[in-house]
Symmetry: C2
Subunit: 280 residues, 2 copies
């Protein structure tokens, strides 16, 4: 949808943003009620609703599914455990296809249990992606590697910069790209250069939220756009300039926002998104 | 001291590790009592003791001062405020010279108050360093840029990778190098390559502690070596292979360790350091 007909046409909300308040069914209805037509879906919520029912509902609500979260977590201490994560990711590919998701988001995995070997963890990630990719290609589901902030290197993902993700994409070839989340990459000295390098073909998603100062804890203190220090409009311009024409997806993991009524959260997402667009 | 005569000859303790428990005087005595001959000094503690008194004590205790912490915090919204940080850093150069410190550690500064412009912040850092360097050179005090973990980009330093620090050193020329702190750089995909690039001339310090999983908060939850997931011995090998022959300096900001008796903290630093060295 390259030519938005309303201001909200390219706004998506990742349902993690209202994950405590709303089921998937409620989120679809709740977002739709406020004129939003993009959603990113989480697998646990999808399972709870049922893939088939969810798929019908998403179609009927005219929702574009900007991503399914998530596959990955490929690092583990034994080949058997690593195979479990690969199999899970293949199932996730099926689910992404069933709900017509634009991509399957990959959180690659941190250090394996008991390991301090980050080079090995990265090799395990590459190996796993090589095993997942043929299936994802045949299902026509793009694999979106999401580089995570380095503060998650130990326990969530050893893919931590755009440059690293680009290198990985070069190595993996067709069918794989990058989800650019401002929270994870805003600090990167090579951000603009590496977004340009990724380009239109490779940028599969653009996620927004903000970096709170001070950040009170590592995982659940993301801020609403405008309440932090990230130049979101500036990074949005970078991905647009690189050729990205897709949605901006709000993804906020926050105890603070999870404690507010979901309707208000969604209203605020809309307001702040529109503010960002006015700065463009 | 390239050829250690005892196992502890290349161990230094940054006094921040016992900052709640001990004054500078107590730290010098306390470290010395346990056979440690390296210390990194903080300016507030130095001011409290008095530069001249501290200098005499350090000499009498046969302490090598592996660094003075710190100069920098160069980013600010007005030229006048930026000049204040430059002047402060020049004073820190004098103090470093007075206590015969091996380097002045620089924490460069995060985003200026109210700013979201990280490119501009980095320009301000470069400009400030260009103003500080002639004086530091004439005082024969090496300036050690310490790249900080990206989770501190907003409020402490926009210099966040070894590559960026190396680029900055290339630009600044003589008299400037890098303090490599495993806590800040262990996750970096280009770590080994950029340590090699820095080499013997440029690596001015090697700081150790560990990354706790989970990390409960961003600033004061560093772990004792061995209690986290960083391959400290591996990174130590990288800096040695690059030609670094200096001290390993323990720097632990931790509410947990600040709540223990300083003597026990220092004993544990020694034990864990020796464990790291045995893995070499």
């Amino acid at each position: 949808m390259n030519h938005p007909t309303t201001d909200l046409d390219l706004l998506s909300i990742n349902q993690a943003t209202t994950k405590i308040q709303w089921t998937l069914k409620e989120a679809i209805n709740g977002y739709q009620a406020q004129g939003i037509h993009g959603i990113s879906v989480w697998r646990d919520k999808l399972a709870e609703y049922g893939v088939e029912q969810a798929s019908h509902h998403l179609i009927n609500a005219n929702m574009t599914v900007t991503g399914l979260c998530r596959g990955g977590m490929f690092t583990a201490s034994t080949p058997k455990l690593r195979q479990v994560s690969i199999d899970e990711t293949l199932t996730a590919v099926d689910e992404a296809a069933a709900i017509n998701a634009q991509c399957l988001v990959i959180v690659a995995g941190g250090l394996a249990d008991g390991s301090k070997n980050i080079v090995q963890a990265r090799e395990q990630i590459t190996e796993a992606l090589l095993k997942v990719l043929p299936y994802a290609r045949s299902a026509n589901i793009p694999i979106a590697i999401e580089p995570l902030h380095p503060m998650y290197a130990a326990d969530r993902s050893c893919i931590n910069t755009m440059e690293q993700a680009n290198d990985l994409c070069d190595l993996l070839g067709r069918g794989v790209g990058i989800a650019v989340d401002v929270y994870h990459v805003w600090w990167d000295p090579k951000l603009e250069e590496q977004i340009k390098r990724a380009g239109k073909e490779r940028i599969l998603g653009f996620h927004i939220c903000d970096w709170r100062v001070p950040t009170r804890e590592l995982l659940l203190d993301r801020a609403m756009m405008g309440d932090g220090v990230i130049d979101i409009a500036g990074i949005h311009k970078m991905v647009r300039d690189a050729g990205y024409t897709g949605y901006s997806e709000v993804e906020i993991f926050s105890n603070e926002w999870w404690n507010k009524p979901a309707f208000d959260v969604v209203s605020t997402c809309k307001e702040r998104y529109l503010e960002m667009m006015r700065k463009a």
